[in-house]
Amino acid sequence: MKIISEITYFAPTTIEEAVELLQKHPENSCLLAGGTDVVPALKKQVEKPRVIIDLKKISGRIRNIELKTIENIESIESIERIESIESKNQQELFIGTLVTFCDLLDSALIRENYPLIWEMSKVVASVGIRNRATIVGNICSAVPCMDSGPVLLTYDAKVQTNKRIIPIENFWIGPRQNCLSIDEIVLGITIISTSPKSHVSAGRFVKLMRYRGEDLAQASIAILINSFESAATATAEVKIAFGAVAPVPIRAYAIEKIISKQINQWDEWNEWDQMMEEALATIPDIIAPISDLRASAEYRLHMVGVMFKRGLKDAILRLQGNGSKYGSSLI
């Protein structure tokens, strides 16, 4: 399939130049990173831009994966508080716009600190695509079945652009639509979390697909459990998000509430069945799956329940240290 429309190609070397180009061609320009979404869209004439602005020649931070510690100095009040200072230490992860899924898989930093991002990257298409496709491109294309969406939701990620910082939940406004203005460029994704010293964290990403290697998700789910232990009690928070079963990836706050309540009075799986029944009953109100060539709405609804049940069980087992290996298949 040839691209039939003529295009003018620009490869700016700075963000400022790229913004200028966007301002000069407000109607018919398109940003290019990996191109694994843009080029098929050009071929199928889903998009007909006249101007392509390739970001790959821009150097600097947008190529990096960075992890830095944010010290919270204000809370130093007395020696007694030293422990709580430690627990208030936060870390910030930055994933630049040109970081590919293969970069994420090769990063020890991601694998150790953000295993859900690693687990998700492992099921994005195949090596040849992952070498090129970027996680920022994935969220900017805003296809409802994107793999990175649910995971970024559970990590409460933020999108940093040349103009502002947008919570990931507000980033998508509909299928294939993001909230960026015409001259706005995403610089990267940030995730702020408490330092791993103060809590144990485990999760599970499950992607339902017909075969590995190239298929898009029929449905996906990300579950993240953070357990904060202090001298007196352990408190846990659970975050759950679904993909490919609504116009945009969505957080399941209703289920999170049910599970968080139960998990903080965890009694060795005794109340598992009851908790599941309560949680599964809320799913139809949260998601709005459609029928398309990959799966029917009924199948998606059913499988989301199955994936949630198995996923949560595995996430809890991983938190306890005897769950499956990250990257293993669950369905």
Binding site: M1, K2, I3, I4, S5, E6, I7, T8, Y9, A11, L32, G35, T36, V39, P40, L42, K43, I52, D54, K56, C102, A125, S126, V127, G128, I129, N131, R132, R212, G213, E214
Partner: protein, 159 residues
């Protein structure tokens, strides 16, 4: 038209091309490099795989100006002058019938073994999962890579 300079299989190439031309079209139609094949032309099948700066990519999803200043290697480039050891294993196992997927398979397997010289069967399947073969059912292809891994491991131990 854009002027593009890049390295192709170790040789410097200078071409003038339209920006809406893909690397696959340039290689096959203008430069006579026929190992990358046009299968689905949408990045699914892996038949058009080439190495770009050492990584396997879909040449059908890359616009020609994107490779300006880059290093492109196709199957023609890695098998100079003879078959690679890995290709010999594919040959010994009768891995291919029509051969359309072969260049992509060889490149993907080469990259896999460069990154991980001792992959498990599961990792081999994962590494080749982006390359579709409509003839063989994949068994002789996977066997060839597994045999290459076993043999290399065996010879390294014997050395």
């Amino acid at each position: 038209m854009n002027k593009i300079e890049f390295m192709l299989n170790g040789e410097k190439i200078e071409v003038w091309a339209n920006a809406h031309k893909t690397l696959l079209e340039l290689l096959r139609e203008d430069l006579g490099i026929k190992s990358p094949k046009c299968g689905c032309d949408l990045g699914d099948c892996g038949a058009c795989t080439v190495f770009l700066d050492g990584k396997s990519v879909r040449s059908c999803l890359i616009l020609v100006p994107e490779v300006n200043g880059c290093d492109v290697v196709t199957l023609e480039g890695i098998m100079r002058p003879n078959l690679t050891k890995l290709q010999q294993f594919f040959l010994d196992h009768n891995s291919f019938q029509c051969g359309f997927c072969a260049p992509g398979m060889v490149l993907s397997a080469t990259e896999l073994l460069q990154k991980n010289p001792t992959p498990t069967l599961e990792e081999i399947k994962e590494g080749l999962s982006g390359n579709l073969c409509r003839c063989t059912g994949y068994t002789p292809i996977i066997n060839a890579v597994a045999d290459a891994v076993a043999t290399t491991v065996a010879t390294t131990i014997n050395e």
